[in-house]
């Protein structure tokens, strides 16, 4: 069977000593930053992008991916033990997980989270392997109009699934697109949108933009409220689940995995949305909904499986279509471009060892996380006692060194400063920075496909609606926009984000 051959190739690549090592470093780092609040996977991956230059492309992507799904594990550990979600995706885990810990079932909650995540991760890995080849086949038949419409759909969907004001999110996308276009025009070589600065002739450096908005900008936000973290760490004993508990988590884990896998594939989806959606679902189908919030084990099992499944299936559109569905995937695309790989459906056929090696490494990484996390829980909790004011100056300096080292150019560091200002001001105006980063990455591709499509159609814009696939994609995008504006859906969406 072809699938077995592919996975065989993947495991041969992923099991080489070097790749296992980087996978290990990735998941370890991911767990670490998942545990630490105020430092997310986006900022960490942005910081580490420059370091990945020296690695082989496979090792670089394996490590960066490990950070992303490792962070999901780490975030849930602190959510359960000290009611402090390290990641946004583990906010819902804290609701019931911490209540379980208070009742002396911290070990069971952690084991549930780890087992649920591992199951979800394994299923999502297989899904990734099964779904990607046909999807890439379809994408290979895409022409410029289809690509343009697909990107529009991706951008629109990422807005409709996000929280907050739609207009602002759309505005952030457009601003991101504009910023992404600055630099040299691909067709004429004209330098454009450089604010009159010759230093910007090549456009804004992607790493500087990402680190400014997500690294430094995030640190400034954390400095708003400097209350000291105080916590009582729960004693962890008895990682084994009772028979009843084990039975009680089977169904939620399966439901969470299914829901997370679907939501992860959608543009704008990913870990956070999946965990919120799964919690609502579990509450609805439960026979004892009143137990939720008071230590219901299903409230841990469902979301924890969902966020890990979502984190992994969000790689599908990135790997097969070259379209990022969330900021982490935007960074992964950035990492591929830095390594000289053009993201898109060709990656699978031209670099099979990269594609399948990455997929196989995810399964290995998930297995490592289960083995690694349960014994190291004590260490992670102790790490939390490091006060933030000793941590953040190092983060700032690390960002500076990282950005500088990309091109050995101070301009990039100034760019980062400018984008940390922009990022923080926009956050204060209640604009999410994520759509801007997506727009920034997609901007040049979107323009290229638009120009090509219009050139082929001799300036006739109806080409986007007369081509059936393109028309269907645009119709979906329009539907998504309209749906969010409908009051009924709007309400449930707001509710889902309030919980």
């Amino acid at each position: 069977m072809e699938l077995i051959d592919h996975l065989g190739l993947g495991f041969t690549v992923a099991l080489s000593f070097q790749n296992i090592l980087y996978c290990f470093i990735g998941v370890l780092l991911g767990t670490l930053i998942g545990v630490l609040p105020g430092l997310g996977p986006v900022a960490t991956i942005a910081m580490l992008l420059p370091i990945t230059f020296g690695l082989s492309p496979v090792a670089a992507l394996i490590m960066l991916a490990g950070i992303y799904y490792g962070a999901q594990y780490g975030g849930s550990t602190t959510a359960i033990l000290i009611n402090l979600p390290g990641e946004s995706s583990s906010v819902v885990t804290a609701l019931d997980g911490h209540q379980m810990a208070r009742k002396g079932r911290a070990g069971a909650a952690l084991a549930t989270a780890a087992l649920g995540s591992f199951f979800a991760g394994s299923v999502a890995t297989v899904l990734l392997a099964v779904l990607s080849p046909p999807l890439a086949q379809v994408a290979l038949a895409f022409g410029p109009p289809e690509y343009f419409s697909l990107m529009v759909l991706g951008l629109v969907a990422s807005v409709t699934l996000a929280s907050g004001s739609m207009i602002k999110a759309l505005g952030m996308i457009v601003l991101g697109l504009l910023l992404g276009l600055s630099g040299q025009d691909i067709y004429t070589g004209t330098s454009r949108l450089t604010f009159g600065l010759p230093e910007l002739a090549d456009g804004f450096d992607f790493v500087a933009v990402a680190m400014g908005m997500f690294g430094i900008g995030e640190v400034i936000r954390n400095l708003e409220d400097e209350t000291r973290r105080s916590f009582v760490s729960a004693k962890v004993k008895g990682l084994l689940l009772t028979k009843e508990e084990f039975k009680a988590i089977i169904a939620p884990v399966i439901r969470g995995t299914a829901l997370g896998s679907i939501l992860g594939i959608l543009p704008g989806g990913g870990a956070m949305l999946s965990s919120f959606a799964s919690y609502s679902l579990e509450k609805k189908v439960s026979k004892h909904p009143q137990e939720f919030g008071k230590g219901a084990i299903a409230g841990v099992a469902g979301p924890e499986s969902a966020n890990n499944a979502g984190a992994q299936t969000s790689f599908i559109p990135m790997l097969t279509l070259g379209i990022p569905s969330n900021p982490v995937m935007a960074l992964m695309i950035g990492a591929m471009i830095i390594q000289g790989i053009t993201p898109g459906p060709n990656v699978m056929s031209e670099k099979p060892e990269l594609f399948w090696g990455l997929i196989a490494s995810m399964w290995i990484g998930n297995a490592m996380l289960v083995l690694l996390n349960l014994p190291l829980i004590g260490l992670w909790v102790r790490l939390l006692s490091v006060p933030y004011h000793l941590l953040f100056p190092a983060i700032v300096a690390f960002c500076c060194i990282g950005v500088y080292s990309v091109n050995n150019n101070p301009t990039d560091v100034y760019t980062m400063a400018a984008f940390s200002v922009l990022g923080y001001v926009l956050v204060k105006l209640e604009c999410e920075p994520a759509p801007l980063l997506l727009g920034f990455v997609i901007g040049p591709m979107l323009e290229e496909h638009l120009r090509r499509a219009m050139l082929i159609s001799r300036g006739d814009p109806t080409v986007f609606v007369t081509q059936p696939i393109s028309a269907a994609l645009l119709a979906l995008a329009a539907f998504a926009l309209v749906a969010v504006l409908l009051p009924a859906i709007r309400q449930t969406r707001d509710e889902a984000f309030q919980e």
Binding site: G54, S165, I167, K168, L170, G171, V174, L175, L177, L178, L181, D185, T188, T190, R192, L193, F195, I216, V219, I220, R221, L223, E224, D225, E226, P387, H389, L390, F392, P393, A394, V396, A397, F398, C400, I401, Y404, S405, N408, P410, V413, Y414, M416, A417, S420, V421, Y424, L426, K428, L429, E430, C431, R451, M454, L455, S457, R458, G459, D460, P461
Partner: protein, 154 residues
């Protein structure tokens, strides 16, 4: 009734309009081309106009639909000091070199916290500078001058 019902949205709209204007101004100097043969200025101009229109929409909504007050304080101290830290790093890197630049950025960033104390700052700066030397220069072998020409480096 106050004239402005949602100051955040009005302000945000204004920012969008200004940014749209800045980009439109830059795009206006570029060849526009036609729909069938788009010049380098075509797409940027369209996007700038769209951005400004979103801004107008936000301003109109902000004047008419009430919203929540701006919540959370503006972290002035952190904002200014972190900016100083990053700019100091960029400015110090080439004339002064890696070690002074890292130490300066750690110290300045620390000043952004209300928990700043010199007793904690100096060991932190020294420790992190040593650590980053170990990781970036020794470990990763980045070709960066440790001590710049202004301090007698070469």
């Amino acid at each position: 009734m106050p004239l402005v019902k949602n100051p955040t949205n009005v302000l945000c709209g204004a920012v969008f309009i200004v940014l749209g204007g800045v980009f439109a101004f830059q795009a206006s100097g570029l060849m526009f081309g036609s729909a069938g043969r788009m010049g380098p200025g075509y797409f940027p101009m369209v996007l700038s106009v769209v951005l400004a229109l979103f801004g107008v929409l936000l301003v109109v909504l902000g004047l008419r639909v009430p919203g929540a007050q701006v919540h959370g304080v503006f972290a002035w101290r952190g904002f200014i000091m972190l900016l100083c830290a990053v700019i100091a790093f960029a400015a110090a890197m080439q004339p002064l070199g890696f070690l002074p630049a890292v130490a300066a950025s750690v110290l300045l960033a620390f000043l952004g916290s209300r928990s700043f104390s010199l007793a904690a700052a100096l060991p932190l700066a020294a420790g992190f500078t040593f650590f980053s030397w170990l990781v970036f220069i020794k470990g990763l072998g980045l070709p960066i001058q440790l001590i710049g020409p202004w301090l007698g480096g070469y």
